[in-house]
Amino acid sequence: MSAVIKDVAQQPQTLVCLRNLNKHYGDFAAVDNISLDIQDGEFLTFLGSSGSGKSTTLSMLAGFETPSSGEILVSGKSLVNVPPHKRDIGMVFQRYSLFPHLSVRDNIAFPLAIRKLAAAERNKRVDAMLKLVQLDQFAHRRPSQLSGGQQQRVAIARALVYEPRILLMDEPLGALDKKLREDLQDELRQLHRRLGITIVYVTHDQEEAMRLSQRIAIFSHGKIVGLGSGYDLYQNPPNAFVASFLGNSNFLRLKAQGNAVATFEGQLLSIRLTAGLQTGQDTLLMIRPEKAQALSVEQAAAQPLQTGWNEVSAKVGEVLFLGESQTCAVLTQGGTAMTVKALSAAGMPLKTGEQVRVRWATADACVYTQWAESDLNKAAGAH
């Protein structure tokens, strides 16, 4: 009995439910039949390129866009007909969107003033917020007298001061430079941990998504094409699109020869056991550059191939030194381009034009049977 109760207590509670959500503009489906459960207290990121539907979905959550069809439930209650000012949701916008005619203090106090909170309580809460975002000394300044990072902190304080259960953030750090962005990402993560608030974050920056979120929903053409932790999505992408969208990837075209074997350019390779593969079926193999190794012919001769590993021959195209890591572009005998990445410390003493043996563990390579050609060249982070 107690075991059951404990189990229920540990089960993450669903706070927000999107059910078959659609948003059409004429014939164009900006959001195409999305269903998603957002857990209470989680940090979820909508990641996608512009026009992928992530911002439209956020906008429907906020109430600025009305779904063409579908349901948005918060704690089981429909939000669709609730106007945005009654949703009790906090939001931080890309361009800060502070009230330019009000001081920092009055900006943060605005939601409380609208709610007609007593002055004493209002001041107390605003003071607490100013402290939380470390802007106590700037309380009487105008937004235009603050730096971009400070302005965004005011926006966050303004969104949190009325203690909403959900905080929406629409590319809030997009306008800041890299260093400041990383600082604020750290602050945001700490803030989330301290307050336990549910955050839905929109970005097109995959590194930011990885840094911040517990789960990432990858958007493409109005659909969620991948949902999971950054780790899972990166290590085991559910499809070729996610594989090519997140990080870098090598794609090899194979012909299946059973459930665990396939040919690549006429050579037999072992692949992950995949149910339902037909002999001769076109199959796609995805290997992360850092999961592959490039060995010179002498190294390969000295280190016999371990079981569970594959090896193909290739010729070195270009070796790039990138500081902490090194990449090596190679071309297989059949003309497939691959990239191998290694930490600089590990060393990769290869030269252009040399023969190499590229190796990888069968378990590290993902197998796909369905993909679109356009999925294979999503440059990392590009949009």
């Binding site: 502070l98 009230f99 005619h101 939601p111 926006a155």
Partner: protein, 271 residues
């Protein structure tokens, strides 16, 4: 090569300076001329004035007809300003935020009074009010002035509304303000420069409007420009120069206020 004053040869630079100076002089001279004449002692508006006096000002302020005209002008201009802003504000919102067919055409219609010759509008409005029996009333003055002032008000509010980031208003809404509250508490303060400029434009348009006013005027209600016009046709008294000077003075004052407000606003919002 950039044509900045520093990059130019001195000869070209001084050439440009003198041309600019001449143009400024050309534009300012009539004003300087009339202001000087208003203080001149000559009955016949002789230039240069043989001596200096304030007696024309005395005559102006002691003449009930001139004072009535000045007061009427002020009243019409203030009412025109109020109505132009009250009508221009929602119109500008509809034209900027609205998504409906014919929006651009509507914009064209609203700005038409800037292009259509004033005299045509004057005749049309006059014919209408003649039929309705409203000529010579305050109402007819204000309505006709609002017609020509509205495009200026609408355009200046539209410009500032387009510059105003609507996500600031959305932020107020998500903070708990209803759309109307957000507009009043956040958007209006945000577009205040445009509203103030629009109001000042409306005031100025009405303040020195003469074509429509001549049509609308009656013996017991006429604005300052109309009074000047009718007086001019009877005799050439320096009191007209006084009226002109006061007309110009108020206009300059209004423009000065507008410039000050704009500068203060730019200082507040650098981006």
């Amino acid at each position: 090569m950039l044509l900045t004053p520093n990059a130019m040869s001195p000869r070209l630079r001084w050439g440009l300076y003198s041309v600019t100076g001449l143009i400024a002089l050309f534009l300012l001279l009539p004003i300087v001329f009339i202001v000087l004449l208003s203080f001149g002692s000559s009955q016949w508006l002789v230039f240069p004035p043989p001596g200096w006096t304030l007696k024309w000002y005395q005559q102006f302020f002691n003449n009930p007809e001139w004072m009535a005209a000045a007061f009427a002008s002020l009243k019409v201009a203030v009412l025109t300003t109020i109505f132009a802003v009250a009508l221009g504000l929602p119109t500008a919102f509809a034209l900027v935020r609205g998504r409906f067919p014919g929006r651009d055409m509507l914009y064209g219609i609203f700005t038409l009074p800037m292009i259509v010759p004033l005299v045509i509008i004057a005749v049309a409005v006059y014919a209408l009010f003649l039929k309705l029996g409203y000529t010579g009333t305050l109402f007819s003055f204000v309505v006709s002035h609002v017609i020509v002032a509205l495009p200026f008000t609408i355009i200046s509010i539209i410009n500032s509304l387009k510059l105003f980031d609507q996500s600031i208003e959305d932020a107020a809404v998500i903070c708990g303000a209803s759309r109307i509250q957000a507009v009043f508490k956040v958007t209006f303060p945000g577009i205040r420069p445009g509203m103030v400029a629009g109001a000042l434009f409306a005031f100025l348009v009405s303040w020195d409007e003469v074509v429509l006013s001549v049509m609308m005027a009656s013996p017991n209600l006429q604005t300052l420009p109309v009074k000047m016009w009718t007086t001019l046709r009877q005799d050439l008294t320096p009191v007209i120069a006084v009226a002109s000077t006061l007309l110009i003075a108020l206009s300059v004052l209004v423009m000065f206020i507008a410039a000050t407000l704009r500068r203060r606003n730019e200082a507040r919002m650098p981006s």
